[in-house]
């Protein structure tokens, strides 16, 4: 009896300690970056171009490049990913083919991003002659986030109760009308989560981007211009020892952006849940 209680207490303590350790590590990393980086932030830093290779000036082109690249990547990946998920979940029965497709997407999700970078360089930049450009980078990122997007969307779609589909069809809806009117609206929270996760991953990506979008720190004027993202900017500043201060400043902006994206996701989810519970 007492032994049971003691082992119970030990187990709970270990689990609590593990949880606390995780939180502490996250807090430490974020705190460290913000502590070093926040003092660097100023309007000038955020809204002017870098000067002297990045030793001075700001990071405006990197902010623009990051946003443009990530948004373009999502714009490409979203219809492809959701379309694939709808097809897999609604229009195919579970067969060997769908298992192979799912296995394939899972494998794709496990590939290190630098491999995508290499592929993007060979295929988009060189073979398709896009050069280092936003478009080549965005397409590469789109391929990289596609598995996550397909998987989260498919799960969201499958979590919509089967009985709702049956009712819709029994009322004379086609399968496509059922997907449009019942399935997608109710899978939306899950799909949005997938999009936000993908967006966050795109914002922070370095390896896949540096080979495909290049690292020009001029402000990109079109999709065919090379651009530098925050992550790449940070990498170059730190790696080449250009400016530790500016590197931390960039890192702080990056961390805040990722936190903001995640925070927004949670806020949106909360809103969805409330609307559903109404």
């Amino acid at each position: 009896m007492n032994a049971h209680r003691a082992s119970q207490r030990v187990a709970v303590s270990i689990l609590a300690a593990a949880t606390f350790l995780c939180l502490a590590i996250v807090a430490f990393v974020i705190g460290f970056v913000l502590e070093k980086g926040l003092p660097q932030l100023s309007w000038e830093f955020l809204f002017t171009k870098p000067r002297d290779m990045g030793k001075a000036g700001g990071i405006l082109p990197a902010i623009v490049g990051t946003l443009a690249l990530s948004l373009m990547a999502i714009a490409v990946a979203l219809p492809l990913g959701v379309g694939t998920a709808v097809y897999l979940a609604e229009y195919t029965r579970e067969t060997r083919v769908t298992k192979v497709i799912r296995f394939g997407t899972d494998c794709l999700a496990g590939i290190p991003s630098i491999i995508f970078g290499l592929f993007g360089y060979i295929f988009f930049v060189t073979t398709l002659k896009m050069g280092w450009s936003l478009i080549a980078g965005a397409l590469t990122l789109a391929i990289m986030v596609l598995p996550t997007l397909i998987r989260t969307s498919e799960e969201a779609i499958r979590s919509v109760p089967q009985s709702w589909r049956e009712v819709s069809m029994s009322l004379g809806a086609t399968r496509w009308e059922t997907v449009r009117k019942v399935v997608l609206p109710n899978a939306l929270p899950g799909i949005v989560t997938g999009v936000m996760l993908s967006f966050g991953r795109s914002i922070g990506e370095t390896a896949a981007v540096i080979f495909t979008a290049g690292s020009s720190f001029r402000l990109p004027k079109s999709a065919f211009d090379s651009a530098r993202t925050l992550a790449v900017h940070f990498y170059i500043l730190a790696r080449e020892g250009i400016s530790t201060d500016k590197a931390y400043g960039t890192a702080a902006v990056l961390v805040i952006a990722v936190l903001a994206v995640n925070g927004l996701t949670y806020a949106l989810m909360g809103g969805f849940m409330k609307r559903k519970a109404r």
Partner: protein, 251 residues
């Protein structure tokens, strides 16, 4: 008078298993056919075969013929989507769609392209009244259908089916889990509805079949044992098994 529905040697297989074993019967227009039988006797399977809902399940195969107004619904010319617009179904478990009460009722009409607000409003009131739900929900038509009680949800599902103006209405144990008052309301609604519709009422409650139906069919283990006017089935059945079941001596 030709029957509304003619069923001929209807068989339904799930995988290799034959769930419905060659049923033949006629359903007269503007009548209520009660379908009774113990659990697992394929009442639901029979009902769903009439509007081709079984085929939405994997591994299901149907053989035989179902003629609605003389047209074979399993024939190559029949579009199941068009068929389901003519044949309404209310499931055993009430399943409101995650929409407002109003939008639940107009789901079918909207699919048919009805856009006129006044027409939709009129339809909502008419169908909710026919399902004896109007007075309880008329002040909260914009509220979620999921927030209604079980009995109210079932009547909402009935109203939603009525809004399609189906010729044939299939009801699968619409009163299971309902209190006597809600049950009485639904039965009252059905007795009025048969003036314009043909109704098939599957029920686990033999008393309900005795009260509400004009004819009764008794199913057992996937087969039709006996069918006839409700009065005769309950007072003078020709099959011993039917007698055992309706007198509650079954098993």
């Amino acid at each position: 008078m030709t029957p509304k529905v003619e069923v001929r040697d209807l068989r339904v297989f799930f995988g290799g298993e034959e769930a419905l074993r060659g049923v033949s019967l006629d359903i007269a227009a503007n009548r209520i056919l009660g379908v009774i039988g113990p659990a697992g006797s394929a009442k639901t399977t029979f009902l769903r075969a009439l509007d081709r809902m079984n085929e939405l399940k994997a591994g299901c195969r149907t053989a035989g013929r179902v003629l609605v107004d003389g047209e074979d619904v399993y024939g190559p010319a029949c579009d199941p989507v068009a068929l389901r617009k003519r044949v309404g179904m209310v499931f055993a478990m009430p399943v409101p769609l995650p929409l407002s009460i109003y939008e639940n009722v107009v789901y079918g009409p909207r699919l048919n392209g009805v856009r006129n607000k006044a027409e939709l409003d009129g339809l909502v009131e008419e169908c909710l009244r026919a399902a004896f739900l109007w007075d309880e929900v008329k002040d909260r038509l914009g509220g979620s259908g999921l927030k209604l009680s079980g009995g109210q949800q079932q009547r909402l599902c009935l109203a939603r089916t009525l809004a399609m103006r189906p010729e044939l209405i299939l009801l699968d144990e619409p009163c299971s889990g309902l209190d006597p008052i809600s049950t009485a309301r639904i039965e009252e609604a059905l007795s009025l509805l048969k003036e314009r519709h043909t109704i098939v009422l599957v029920t686990n409650n033999t008393k309900q079949a005795a009260r509400a139906s004009d004819e009764t069919a008794f199913f057992l283990m996937g087969e039709l044992v006996e069918m006839g006017p409700t009065g005769r089935i309950f007072t003078n059945p020709s099959d011993k098994r039917t007698e055992d079941y309706v007198t509650g001596r079954f098993g």
